[in-house]
């Protein structure tokens, strides 16, 4: 019975989040104005991240597949190569789920260590970038350091659950940016050279990651709140 209940819940959650994905991908609500040439960051990948966090990698995978199909059909996406549009996106929900389940039971020292490792990794990337474009490398380094400082401050407030959620959201969002652009470079999509991909990645990927972290933390803590209030009734 318990087993059956879990499986029904998974199916229904995947279905509802799929509907939200379609809604966000096909209406202007899913696009936030940002100061980049593309003009907007998408949030349509957020249901996939939430699916992975709430119900595990399988639900994350199914919703990610739906997101891939929705962007394949969307008139806003001019590239129509399934190896670029659908295949890399499968990992959004899965990556978010792995990070979340990895960090869920982690305590403050472990989370601080993860933050430090991430900060060092980004600093190394910034060093590589600064070899070719100096100001971009410095900007990334400053951003990474301030993000890590913010994370440590957040941990100091004792909110470990929110840090895990934010880390999962950022991972899922970056998986989307990095893998799709990487696939575009590998498949040699017209107009996407490695340099173009790099600049799109930073200008589009970082705002999207920040926005997804804010929204995922807000949504999942709101949901958990609803659950708690209900059980009191």
């Amino acid at each position: 019975m318990e087993q059956q209940e879990r499986s029904i819940r998974r199916i229904v959650t995947a279905g509802m989040l799929l509907a939200v994905t379609l809604l966000l991908a096909l209406t202007p609500v899913g696009f936030i104005p940002v100061p980049t040439p593309a003009g907007s960051a998408t949030i349509a990948h957020i249901p996939a991240i939430i699916g992975g966090i709430l119900e595990g990698p399988l639900v994350g995978l199914i919703v990610s597949l739906g997101f891939g199909f929705a962007s394949f059909l969307s008139p806003l996406v001019p590239v129509k190569d399934p190896f670029v549009i659908i295949l890399p996106r499968l990992l959004i929900g899965v990556a978010a789920a792995w990070v979340y389940y990895g960090l869920r039971r982690a305590r403050r020292p472990a989370l601080t260590a993860v933050l430090l490792v991430l900060a060092v990794a980004v600093l190394a990337a910034a060093y590589v970038v600064s070899q070719s474009v100096l100001w971009l490398g410095i900007a990334i380094a400053v951003l990474a350091l301030s993000a890590a400082g913010f994370g440590v401050w957040w941990l100091g407030r004792g909110d470990t659950a929110a840090v895990g959620l934010a880390a999962a959201a950022i991972t899922g969002s970056l998986a989307n940016t990095v893998l799709v652009l990487g696939a575009a470079v590998v498949r040699q999509v017209a107009g996407i050279t490695p340099e173009v991909a790099l600049s799109i990645g930073f200008m589009q990927g970082i705002p999207e990651a920040v926005v997804s972290a804010i929204i995922v933390v807000a949504v999942v803590s709101a949901i958990r709140q609803v659950g708690r209030n209900r059980s009191k009734l």
């Binding site: 279905g15 509907a19 809604l23 209406t27 609500v29 249901p47 008139p75 107009g191 920040v210």
Partner: protein, 278 residues
């Protein structure tokens, strides 16, 4: 407010009941054909193949005998997107040197040098997108949600043989299709409510990243909360009705392929083959 009102039409398009050839085709055939035609549109490399496919889709609309304005209702939400795409393709689009007219200048504005080849390229990109949108619109205009769901489920059944959850995937898809318009209405209600509180109004300011994220969160968080609350209700309802998965389930609507279905499927396959060969 205009933004809120446009949402209602933005869901995948409405169903217009009818008894035309297109309406009465088996939903499985329609879904397969959608896939085949989509691949054909994406693969078509010559401009006249793209144009011919567009005309074929227009002919299918004719055959579906949809009411006046149905095609317009499908296309209206994507028109602004098409305009943006046209401008960006004209100015920055990839230019195929082999395209006829690549060396004929049409107009020069500042640094932008628009050649005839690029105009043709932009026109092809637009017709291709129009075809894809109209194709999906035709499917949803002529197929009811329940027919789509049963067609999808039957197409996914072979997955059960190899151990994948075909039935469960179909149920997931059916739930998504069923709740898309309901969540659309919910989103509209949230939008009006937040507008009334003056949370989402005002001009767009791309530089204020945190403000934009907060504004979007004000719309999206209630939407997610509503969707996930419905998950509770639907799961309980399915459990209360002793839902046991797909094993040994019978169907209210049995699907049988007839000659008409087979002929149209053959036409779709033939079309793809022709496009691939060309």
């Amino acid at each position: 407010m205009a933004r809120a009102a446009s949402l209602r039409n933005a869901s995948l398009g409405r169903f217009w009941p009818g008894d035309s050839v297109v309406h009465t085709l088996d939903p499985r055939v329609k879904l397969c054909s959608l896939g085949l035609w989509t691949v054909a549109i994406v693969l078509a490399s010559r401009w006249w193949v793209t144009a011919a496919l567009f005309l074929l889709i227009a002919a299918a609309y004719r055959a579906a005998r949809l009411p006046r304005g149905a095609a317009g209702a499908v296309l209206r939400p994507v028109l602004p997107v098409l305009a943006v795409l046209a401008v960006s393709q004209l100015l920055f689009g990839y230019q195929d040197p082999a395209m006829p007219g690549a060396d004929i200048g049409v107009l020069e504005v500042g640094a932008a040098d628009v050649s005839l080849g690029r105009v043709i390229g932009a026109a092809i990109a637009i017709v291709r997108l129009l075809s894809l949108v109209m194709l999906v619109g035709l499917l949803t205009a002529t197929t009811s949600a329940s027919a789509l769901a049963s067609g999808m489920e039957r197409l996914l059944l072979p997955l059960n043989r190899i151990g994948l959850p075909g039935h469960e995937l179909a149920l997931t898809g059916a739930i998504a299709l069923r709740f898309l318009p309901i969540l659309g209405e919910e989103l509209e209600a949230v939008q009006r409510a937040q507008l009334a509180r003056d949370i989402t109004g005002g001009p767009e300011r791309p530089w204020q990243l945190a403000r934009n994220a907060r504004r979007t969160a004000a719309l999206v968080v209630p939407l997610f909360a509503d969707a996930l609350q419905r998950v509770d209700e639907i799961s309980t309802a399915l459990l209360a009705r002793c839902y046991q998965g797909g094993r040994g389930r019978t169907y209210m609507r049995e699907l049988r392929l007839n000659a008409k279905d087979l002929i149209s499927l053959a036409i779709s396959v033939g079309l793809l083959v022709i496009v691939v060969v060309l």
